[in-house]
């Protein structure tokens, strides 16, 4: 049944995110951008956030994912809150503690023992923790089937050799879900997911990448050199992979996260719109009958309309996910559409402010740099179109 309203619980969560965003995420994001350094892991804000339960898994965490009774709402809450977090600062939001993108594969593929063991640190209130997810390699981005990090079984352990890059929060992570292959010629069938814990010998050369935007969180690259991982850290256990489920597990977690990343693009676009609109009001750009100022109003209107259209695509993908209906096409449509309009909106916001728009002391300048990543992470716009084309056009898997 069509509805565009948030329920009471979500309204309260939104209010909390707004407070957090206004007081911490936005100022910390700007500060990190100016300094050119990520927010340090020992920043007092993270401790405060952790104490408040942000990123921390509660005892009811699994319940939220799949409630025993009543309507499942996790996906819709995810897109609404994701948009709001990114509105305040997407970089600072990704820096927040928690298992991050490592959570979905552990939740979907992990044995009960593994879920308990790897999620336990995230239930501990004493200090903030991070998790990470490592698929991308220097030579394998969109073509995830082409990963070359090698996994060999040696006695009661797996030995990993390879390199990963652009991995969010990896340096400070308790563990990293690392994707490797037991047979590079086998494509997806050879894929295995391992939980590599902090301090494992052979997890080396950890270094932070320098990014154009989204400076507030660290993206890291690292090397796995004869890195021995206990056999019990193979996610799901060996039997899990007998049915080619490995790659499917990773791809399913993308279906869950794509609408969320798309919603974050919507949040950045909305921040750009608000900044441009505020600038236009402060400078009386909307109240003077000059042709240039008419263009300003038109640009704001276009931004507002496209933001709403993108938001609705995210909400649709999430509605289907909560109803446990297939949403691959809708998730990828949202992820193809939203970052593109967010890029356009950030550009229009810069134009509304004319020369002032490219000054680093104006927020839209930062947004213009930040937003580009949204069309790249979690599958580029091109990959999303291939996913849609496979479903709607029978586009070949090798295409």
């Amino acid at each position: 049944m069509i509805s565009f309203d948030v329920d009471e619980k979500l309204a309260q969560q939104l209010e909390r995110v707004r407070t957090l965003g206004r007081e911490f995420l936005r100022p910390l994001g700007i500060e990190a951008d100016r300094k050119g350094e990520a927010i340090p892991a020992d920043h007092p804000f993270f401790e405060t956030a952790w104490r408040l339960g942000i990123g921390r898994l509660g005892p009811e965490e699994d319940e939220e994912e799949r409630p025993r009774s009543g309507e499942r709402t996790a996906a819709r809450r995810g897109v609404v809150l994701g948009e709001e977090l990114a509105y305040w600062d997407r970089g600072a939001a990704v820096a927040l503690p928690g298992p991050g993108l490592g959570a979905p594969p552990i939740r979907r593929m992990g044995t009960p023992e593994q879920r308990e063991r790897f999620f336990a640190p995230f239930r501990d209130p004493s200090r903030p923790r991070w998790g990470a997810f490592a698929m991308t390699e220097p030579g394998a981005g969109s073509d995830v089937a082409a990963i070359r990090t090698l996994a060999r079984k040696e006695g009661d352990a797996w030995v990993l050799d390879g390199a990963k890059t652009f991995i969010s929060n990896a340096i400070r992570a308790e563990w990293i879900v690392v994707w490797a292959t037991v047979d590079p010629s086998a494509g997806r069938a050879g894929h295995r997911a391992f939980v590599v814990e902090k301090g494992t010998p052979g997890l080396e050369d950890m270094r932070a990448e320098h990014k154009m935007g989204l400076v507030a969180y660290e993206s890291a690259s690292f090397t796995l050199r004869h890195c021995r991982v206990p056999a019990e850290n193979l996610l799901g256990g060996e039997r899990y992979y007998e049915s080619r489920a490995g790659f499917k597990g990773a791809m399913e977690s993308f279906n869950a996260t794509r609408p969320m990343v798309a919603a974050m693009a919507v949040g950045i676009a909305r921040a750009a719109y608000d900044a441009a609109r505020e600038f236009a009001r402060e400078h009386f750009l909307l109240s003077r009958p000059l042709p240039r100022h008419r263009r300003v109003a038109e640009k704001l209107a276009r931004m507002a309309r496209k933001i709403e259209a993108a938001r609705l695509l995210c909400w649709r993908a999430a509605s289907l996910a909560d109803a446990e209906r297939p949403n691959q096409v809708e998730a990828s449509m949202a992820k193809a559409f939203a970052p593109a309009i967010a890029q356009e909106a950030a550009g229009l916001a810069v134009e509304v402010m004319a020369e002032a728009g490219v000054r680093q002391d104006h927020y839209v300048e930062k947004l213009y740099r930040d937003v580009k990543a949204m069309d790249i992470v979690e599958g580029t716009g091109q990959i999303q179109r291939i996913v849609v084309a496979r479903r709607l056009l029978g586009y070949p898997a090798s295409g």
Partner: protein
């Protein structure tokens, strides 16, 4: 809680509308276009389903059905033949204006005669002037039956003209089934007038959503047809849909149609305070999406697309024509910009 899936009532209306579009409109599409009118039995069948005034208040023969249900239905009708929609509906985009004017009897009269339907003019560009309750000016194009009354939506208010209007037949780019007319006013008296600004906003919004829903329907039809064709047509050893240049274009077309539909639903659900802006967005987005889809659907079919053997050339013309109605894309974008400046 947020939910973008249709409820059972809207699904039922959608299915009935789809069946009507598939069985009654599509097969007769070229015939209706050639004749410049819709067969009387098709009009009667549509009206017997109770569709034309279903979103009006009960005193106007309505069934209190939501505006959302109406736009869901109109998308299906647009998918079948957008040109036929005006003749089928009777009051069509002008229905809300008639409600605001309190014209109960006229609503009934329009439904009684399958050859009669209302001409709805939306003019915010100063082509029609009002002086002392009389209308002056010439409006170049409107899908209209030559014998129908005319409702005119102007910045000053809503005006209904029954007599003293010169309606002369013109040929249009698209929407052939409803025929097209130039409408001239020469000191024409208004038989009824409403100068309530809120009523005007509601009436214009209704007209915009009517056109936007048809645009979404035609754009969907063109996208589906191009997708099917591209999977059958082989070039360079594979279906053309499996060349990335076309695969990406087709997925962008499908996404644009879906985005436009969602904004349309949003606007059909709008509270009154947001109706002006959201209805303007809905029309602007639908027009932008459809104008992207129409010519590209022809392009996907190449030379075949240009020929009348395939429907995509008709849909491209229908889209171009629809996108000029109810103030068109420009007016919708201007209104949205004015909302920003408030």
């Amino acid at each position: 809680m947020i939910d973008l899936r249709l409820g059972p009532e809207e699904e039922m209306i959608r299915e009935t509308g789809q069946a009507f579009a598939r069985e009654r409109l599509r097969p007769a599409m070229r015939e209706h276009e050639r004749r410049g009118s819709v067969a009387a039995e098709v009009v009667r069948a549509y009206r017997e389903l109770g569709f034309p005034t279903m979103e009006a208040p009960e005193s106007f023969g309505g069934q209190g059905v939501s505006l959302l249900s109406k736009v869901v239905l109109l998308e299906e009708i647009g998918w079948g033949d957008a040109g036929a929609a005006f003749a089928l509906e009777g009051a069509g985009p002008g229905l809300r204006a008639l409600v605001e004017l309190g014209e109960r009897d006229l609503c009934g009269d329009l439904l009684a005669d399958p050859a009669c339907y209302l001409a709805t003019i939306v003019d915010f560009a100063g082509r029609i002037a009002v002086r002392e309750g009389r209308l002056e000016g010439r409006f170049p194009f409107v899908p209209a039956s030559p014998k129908g009354p005319v409702v005119v939506l102007l910045p000053e208010g809503i005006f209904l003209c029954r007599e003293g209007v010169r309606v002369s037949r013109v040929e249009g780019c698209g929407l052939g089934a409803s025929g097209a007319s130039e409408v001239s006013f020469d000191g024409t008296p208004a038989a009824a007038t409403c100068r309530d600004p809120a009523a005007l906003v509601r009436s214009v919004a209704h007209a915009r959503l009517f056109v936007a829903a048809l645009l979404v329907g035609v754009a969907r039809a063109a996208t589906e047809y191009a997708m099917r064709y591209a999977q059958e047509r082989v070039a360079f050893g594979r279906p053309i849909a499996h060349h990335q240049g076309l695969a990406f274009l087709l997925t962008d077309m499908a996404t644009a149609v879906d985005a436009a539909r969602l904004l349309l639903w949003r606007a059909a659900f709008a509270p009154e305070a947001e109706l002006e802006r959201l209805s303007a967005w809905a029309l602007a987005e639908a027009a932008e999406a459809a104008l992207f889809v129409g010519p590209n659907a022809v392009q996907v079919l190449g030379g075949h697309g240009f020929m009348k053997d395939h429907p995509v050339e008709k849909w491209m013309r229908d889209i171009r024509t629809l996108a000029q109605l109810a103030g068109g894309r420009d007016e919708a974008e201007l209104v949205a910009a004015e909302c920003e400046a408030r």
